[in-house]
């Protein structure tokens, strides 16, 4: 797997976590998703990608990690997936997507507004089309979270082959 494909996403994630939560998430080994994973998430931020490649970016957390991170940002003890958690994850997903675009200038990518999916232990299902889904796992002191990047083969082939 070529570094050029992954690094824009990794650097954007580490940078926004540093500014918002004062921590730099540690990168674990990225891999392509083979089928639906049984890792269960409680809240996910989703951004659609358009332009000369299409796809989606999804940032997923379990409740424990999400509430501890947002507690740091807002300076009060957050205990549930409340409005502040939803708002923060939407903004963090937006910043990761927007910042990552600079690694793919020639594709003139456009990003959508963020959407949030909240649901106890939800599983993310991916389109059956030919979109390779890259899972980028990170670890923070509070636990693990995942950035999923699915972009059309056009861009993944250009960069990976």
């Amino acid at each position: 797997m070529k570094k050029e494909y992954i690094m824009p996403f990794v650097e954007s994630t580490q940078n926004v976590f540093h500014e918002f939560f004062g921590i730099t998430p540690e990168l674990d080994t990225p891999y392509f998703v083979k089928k639906e994973e049984t890792l269960n998430w409680d809240v996910s931020g989703i951004i659609g990608i358009a332009g000369e490649s299409k796809g989606v970016i999804v940032l997923s957390f379990n409740e424990k990690v999400a509430v501890s991170l947002v507690s740091k940002l807002v300076g009060r003890k957050v205990t549930t997936l409340d409005e502040d958690v939803i708002d923060t994850i939407a903004e963090v997903t937006n910043i990761i997507a927007g910042n990552s675009k600079k690694g793919f200038e020639e594709y003139r990518l456009k990003i959508s507004l963020p959407s949030i999916i909240k649901g106890k232990e939800h599983v993310v299902f991916w389109p059956k089309q030919d979109i390779p889904i890259l899972s980028i796992p990170f670890t923070v002191p509070e636990g693990k979270f995942m950035l999923f990047v699915g972009l059309e083969k056009k861009i993944t082939n250009d960069i990976l082959l």
Binding site: I96, N99, I111
Partner: protein, 132 residues
């Protein structure tokens, strides 16, 4: 450092309330330029309504927002004589060069890529208020 003898009105336009608060909390009156009043709006349409009712000194403008996006607000304001000189700082996640160029061509005064560092934000705003 100089100070100004009137209240500086800053309009923060961002669809994220968390981001509005982060930007507001970046300011510390003791080290800044004097008294500041913050106004907020969550989308471009609301921003234009606020500006109809208040004379603002500086506009901090997000790009990706519902209803009317920041670039459209920028273009609209620059067509009006009243707002041709208004300092408009775009604060956005959009980091691609072609986005920055588009905003500059549309008349933005400055461009900050989120997550905005506090120091950069304050230095730029100081520059517009104090003319430094």
């Amino acid at each position: 450092m100089g100070a100004v003898n009137r209240i500086i009105k800053i309009l923060i336009v961002d669809d994220s309330r968390i981001m509005q608060n982060i930007l507001k909390n970046s300011f510390d009156e003791k080290e800044a330029w004097g008294k500041t009043e913050f106004l907020t709006a969550s989308d471009g349409e609301e921003a234009l309504k606020v500006m109809d009712e208040h004379l603002i000194d500086i506009l901090l403008l997000d790009w990706n927002m519902p209803k009317l996006d920041g670039l459209s607000v920028l273009k609209k304001l620059r067509q009006s004589d009243k707002y041709r000189q208004l300092p408009i700082i775009m604060i956005t996640s959009e980091a691609a060069k072609y986005n920055v160029i588009e905003a500059l061509k549309s008349g933005v005064s400055d461009y900050i890529i989120k997550p905005a560092s506090r120091k950069i934000l304050i230095d730029k705003i100081k520059g517009f208020i104090l003319g430094t």
